[in-house]
């Protein structure tokens, strides 16, 4: 063990190689089989010829100027926002919509209509299901206070923070034209 502790970096590699030839797996008392924690000799120290052993890698010669950088990033036409030319009017609400595509506003309204209809169909009249259908004592028994998790509280006011698709613009009325 004393020889391990005094292992120095200069000439260490030859020393290790020499050790490697005599270390065999299964030798029980030798503890130098964990030298990976120790700092090993770098390439420059082995060859002694400076950084990266004389190899020079390709690097940019100069800093790319503000103008050139922005020309590269934002000038090409295919990277810019394109004008939509495939627009027409929604036949039911009159706002703009993409041609050959449903108007998302009307789709949402019709889906909401389905939801209310199905809710009314499934709900049998005369049977109390909601908290307001019960009197005070029954309500306390049927709907005891529930501790809401942070996630449930967050989902309560989802309409305030969730990004929604904005509605398309209305088609302006043409004045003085039929």
């Amino acid at each position: 063990m004393a020889s391990v502790a005094s292992w120095s970096r200069s000439g260490g590699s030859s020393f290790l190689n020499a050790l490697g030839s005599i270390i065999r797996p299964g030798m029980p008392s030798f503890t130098l089989r964990l030298p990976t924690f120790l700092p090993g000799p770098s390439a420059s120290e082995v060859t002694g010829t400076g950084i990266d052993a004389g190899l020079v890698l390709a690097v940019p010669k100069k800093k790319v100027s503000h103008m050139k950088k922005r020309q590269k990033r934002y000038a090409p036409g295919d990277k810019q926002l394109k004008q939509l030319t495939n627009l027409n009017r929604c036949p039911s609400c009159g706002h703009y919509k993409r041609a050959h595509t449903l108007c998302m506003h009307c789709v949402g309204e019709i889906k909401a209509l389905w939801r209310t209809k199905e809710k009314n169909e499934t709900r049998t009249p005369g049977v109390a299901t909601k908290p307001e259908d019960f009197d005070d004592i029954d309500r306390q028994i049927m709907f005891p206070g529930k501790i809401k998790s942070a996630y449930e509280k967050k989902m309560e006011n989802i309409n305030e923070w969730l990004y929604k698709r904005p509605r398309t613009l209305p088609v302006e009325k043409k004045v003085g034209k039929k």
Binding site: S92, C93, T101, L102, C106, I110, V171, K178
Partner: protein, 207 residues
Amino acid sequence: MVVLKKLGRTASARKSLMRNMVTSLIEHESITTTFAKAKVLQSYTDRLITSAKHNTPTVNTLGKVYRPEMAVEKLYTELVGRYVQRPGGYTRIHKVEPRLGDYAPQAIIELVDGKRDMKFYMTARVVARLERQGLPIDKTTQMNLEDVIRFRQNGKEEFRATVEEMKKVFYKSEESISNLPTGSQPASRVKKNVTFVDAPTPKVYGQ
């Protein structure tokens, strides 16, 4: 079956995806997914319904859906009965706006003549608007109208009721019909500096 689109999946993953989507489609009658998936699902669903209609002993519908107690039950009772008259084309795809977030092209795929037939409701809404404005039904709407009530049971009556409902829900106030399309499509384009003459009567030879 020839695989036309792999959807970036292995065969087993694709099969699971199709089973999953067709089960949802049968359950809810209409689902929103990407356009590519909708196109593949359309042929899958149409094949499934066709094979259920034929109902030969070799037909295996159990392996093509999940939750067969719901899906196969509904397929053989409700859907087969609904599509007895219809010679194919049991699903319909509508393009919708791209998805928020990754801008993937999306589509609504629906079972035709179902309770969530978007074309039926959209056409009813357009007819309601036209009636509310006092305009005649234009050519495209007439075509859509005939399409949605053609094979539907009590289609005409149901359509009429839906139109009245749409009038109440969406076009109740005067303000709601203030900025709507007033004219139908423009009449045939009139060409300037061109005079049309009648075609000359063809000469008959050999008389």
